[in-house]
């Protein structure tokens, strides 16, 4: 059950990233670029969650990696929101 949820989360993130990349290619607003990177990072975060909790044995702990990936993703999003103040 948890496995399904993590995969669903990953797929949703990939969907968001795809839509944003497509729109960015269409008209190039930079916020679209940064937020698509964020959603790719979130997708990665969810995939790692799946791998860590479902696939790998409990001795291996991917938490630092997972969380750093997530933090990079969110940081990119915030950077895009704050820095690019084009109207």
């Amino acid at each position: 059950m948890a496995a399904v949820v993590y995969l669903l989360c990953a797929l949703t993130s990939i969907l968001c990233a795809t839509l944003l990349i497509r729109a960015y290619r269409g008209n190039g607003a930079r916020l679209l670029f940064w937020s698509s990177l964020c959603f790719i990072g979130l997708a990665l975060n969810n995939v790692l969650l799946f791998v860590d909790l479902i696939v790998l044995p409990t001795e291996i702990d991917l938490r630092p990696l997972r969380n750093i990936v997530g933090l990079i993703a969110i940081s990119i999003m915030l950077f895009g929101l704050i820095w690019d103040q084009e109207r």
């Binding site: 008209n27 607003a29 084009e86």
Partner: protein
């Protein structure tokens, strides 16, 4: 109208539909007035000179607003014998939104004008539009 009613009218935001319509199609006061003129006089058609005279603006500036409104699918161009513009939206949805705008304009002109000059928040709109899977304007 009582003071309380006036205050409430001024403070409550415009309906979402009208607000989005303005964000998408109405960027100058002139565009608004041209659209209102054509809407109220529909199905009568006007040439750009007539519109310019009516609104006391130049024919050039009227023409550029008209072509923008035409590009957005809000007005149609007839050429019999001279080019004239008439309110004829491309879709029912657009027609409904335009009429809603007209209603708001009549009751709450200042709110509508304020919304036209509000900061465009363009990148917000672009972000939101990215999530429309099927492109095709409404």
């Amino acid at each position: 109208m009582s003071d309380v009613t006036l205050f409430l009218l001024a403070e409550t935001p415009l309906p979402d539909q009208v607000r989005r319509f303005i964000l998408r199609h109405i960027h100058t006061l002139e565009q608004l007035e041209i659209l209102v003129l054509l809407l109220e006089s529909a199905p009568r058609a006007f040439s750009d000179q007539e519109i310019a005279a009516n609104l006391r603006t130049t024919a050039d500036s009227a023409r550029s607003r008209l072509s923008r409104l035409h590009g957005d699918g809000l007005i149609a161009l007839t050429t019999d014998p001279s080019p004239k513009y008439v309110f004829k939206p491309r879709s029912d949805a657009l027609a409904r939104e335009a009429r809603a705008l007209l209603a708001c304009y009549r009751e709450r002109r200042v709110a509508v004008i304020t919304q036209i000059f509000a900061p465009p928040a363009e990148r917000a709109m672009l972000f939101a539009e990215a999530f429309r899977i099927k492109k095709g304007d409404g």
